[in-house]
């Protein structure tokens, strides 16, 4: 073990000696920055392992007396916000983030495909509209959005994921750009073999842009998983995990009975796990998003 570490250190030292001073300086800066980024999470894990007594009697960086995972069990069972437990919040986060991302990607892809590959009157208007929706962030539309969501009975309902998903905007533009890059010959061959247009879309053309679609799904999923602001307005009775933790944090800060800071930290660590795992698996796919061309049309 010791020999292996020594060999690794020797290799690193050799590589550092053979590189330019700029790269060495940048490496040191990156290392310091990376440590500054990872330390808070290590602190968070440590805080989650303290007992309630240790939280009040020890200093913030004092290590817990033992590796104590009971706060995780406690968070799973008893942490709640608006009468919703952690498993229910996880479920809400899942339909909100995964459902909305799925609908956004698949519905945007459908329209983007016909605009990219078929000629019909009004296609350039649809494209221009998507660009406008993407580039001009309309401020102050939140009151009207709230009225709309209420009018279609999507307030505090999973229907919200379908009703408010993004069908014209950035995902549409990115998918359109991806479809434009796919040769039409694949579709022609399938048509000759007797395939219908729906089959060609789902079986031939959509798989050609899977990596872009997955990347768009993941970036949306991560953003929605993290979002507590939108659910606070539209889904406060069905809190997602991010919103639930925000509400619980407010109660802990106000010293409500039955709340505990280490339990909150355990809940926060639980909230981190799904997106970190997803990114670890799909980080190469995330780099498949190409932003060029589409916007400048």
């Amino acid at each position: 073990m010791g020999a292996a570490v020594k060999t690794l250190m020797r290799k690193c030292a050799k590589r550092i000696r053979s590189t330019s001073p700029t790269r060495v300086i940048v490496f040191v800066l990156f290392l310091v920055y990376a440590l500054a980024l990872i330390m808070p999470y290590l602190f968070g894990i440590m805080f989650s392992m303290k007992t309630a007594k240790e939280w009040f009697t020890t200093k913030v960086l004092d290590l817990p007396a033992s590796l104590n995972f009971t706060n995780y069990a406690e968070a799973w069972k008893n942490l709640n916000a608006n009468d919703t437990s952690v498993p229910s919040m996880l479920f809400n986060s899942l339909w909100y983030a995964a459902g909305m991302s799925f609908f956004s990607v698949i519905l945007s892809s459908m329209s983007a495909y016909v605009v990219a590959k078929y000629r019909f009157p009004g296609r350039s208007i649809i494209y221009a509209f998507a660009l406008v929706a993407m580039m001009i962030p309309i401020m102050g539309s939140l009151p009207a959005q709230l009225r709309y969501v209420k009018a279609v009975n999507a307030l505090n309902s999973p229907v919200f994921a379908l009703v408010m998903c993004q069908t014209i905007g950035m995902i549409f533009v990115v998918m359109l750009s991806a479809f434009r890059g796919v040769s039409w010959e694949y579709a022609e061959a399938a048509f000759i073999d007797g395939a219908g247009p729906l089959l060609v879309f789902f079986k031939i053309m959509l798989p050609q842009v899977t990596s872009v679609a997955v990347a768009m799904f993941l970036t949306n999923f991560v953003a929605l998983w993290a979002d507590a602001e939108t659910p606070l307005i539209f889904l406060d009775e069905l809190p997602t995990l991010s919103l639930g933790l925000l509400l619980y944090k407010g109660r802990v800060d106000a010293n409500y009975a039955g709340t505990s800071m280490p339990v909150l930290y355990a809940g926060l660590i639980i909230c981190m796990i799904p997106t970190v795992i997803l990114f670890s698996i799909f980080q190469k796919s995330l780099m498949d998003i190409q932003m060029g061309g589409g916007l400048k049309g």
Binding site: L37, K117, F172, F279, G293
Partner: protein
């Protein structure tokens, strides 16, 4: 001549007769986009109506716009301060894009431990702000980690309980600890797609690292970078930070977007709609101006 005549002819449908038969298919596939357009128009027309109608009587009024101009004229007003804070977050957003570009370049050049750095620099973007900020506040807050480590930072609690200094702490968090975001991955992905032959031939011609960065890599990823820059610049009036997670919605500090959000939470709709409408209208020429400039600068490189 013959060729030009051909190019001037209206292009035939790709599927010819088959496409006419596919009309139902086109309409079916367009339903999501048409719904999106309907929702966008419906919501924004409603937003305009709300901005011009009186909250209590429902009559048409310009009162909220008058209130806005009156507030904008006072440097101590909430809207004025919110506008200044919005510009600060906007500046941080643009700065982060350039930082992302430089960091992506060094990771593309496979600096030692680049895979680990790639993961760690993106990690905070993967984690919900409520997680990051709860820990961040515990580190800098009352009897926090910095206080324990240095024995110095007694001033941090005061920094987080005063609106003017809280905004600085949030900006610092946004710049350094909120993660580089998807832009960083998009730029890194664009660099990774550059054919190695181009850089190798540059090296054979004696191209220095600086020239390679500035004259080879930058033009090759400009299409992606300029698009991200346009998108960043369009946020001039909508840029905001994770203020809710810091303050729990207890008022100041505000950005324009967060102020509107906070008012809607309080069931106040008309004035926020008017403020939003005003800044959207101001922002439109800026957005199209930036887009026009990006189009002019674009070197149109294909590889």
């Amino acid at each position: 001549m013959n060729q030009s005549t051909q190019t001037n002819k209206p292009k035939k449908n790709r599927l010819g007769v088959t496409q006419k038969k596919s009309l139902w298919f086109i309409l079916l596939m367009l339903i999501p986009a048409l719904y999106g357009i309907f929702r966008y128009v419906f919501i924004n027309v409603n937003s305009i109506l709300i901005a011009f109608s009186d909250a209590s009587t429902g009559e048409v009024t310009l009162r909220y716009f008058r209130d806005l101009f009156e507030e904008m004229g006072r440097s101590d007003s909430t809207i004025f301060k919110a506008l200044l804070n919005t510009f600060k977050f906007f500046g941080v957003g643009v700065l982060k894009l350039f930082l992302s570009y430089i960091i992506a370049y060094f990771l593309y050049k496979k600096i030692l431990l680049y895979k680990g750095f790639r993961f760690l620099f993106f990690l905070p973007s993967l984690v919900a702000p409520v997680v990051n900020i709860t820990i961040y506040v515990r580190i800098i807050g009352v009897n926090g980690a910095i206080h324990q480590l240095t024995g110095y930072a007694e001033n941090f609690p005061a920094l987080l309980s005063n609106a003017d200094t809280t905004i600085l702490m949030i900006l610092l968090y946004d710049l350094l600890f909120a993660g580089l975001g998807a832009n960083f991955l998009i730029l890194l992905g664009a660099m990774n797609r550059i054919p190695t032959e181009i850089l190798e031939s540059g090296k054979m011609d004696g191209c220095s690292a600086w020239r390679e960065f500035w004259q080879l890599i930058t033009p090759l990823v400009w299409d992606n970078f300029s698009t991200l820059l346009v998108l960043a610049l369009t946020k001039i009036f909508t840029a905001s930070g994770p203020i809710l997670y810091f303050t729990g919605g207890q008022g100041d500090p505000y950005t324009l977007t967060f102020w509107i959000y906070d008012k809607v939470r309080d069931s106040t709709y008309n004035y926020p709609a008017a403020v939003g409408l005003f800044f959207t209208v101001i922002g439109i020429p800026i957005v199209f101006g930036v887009r026009w400039i990006a189009k002019k600068v674009n070197p149109e490189v294909a590889y």
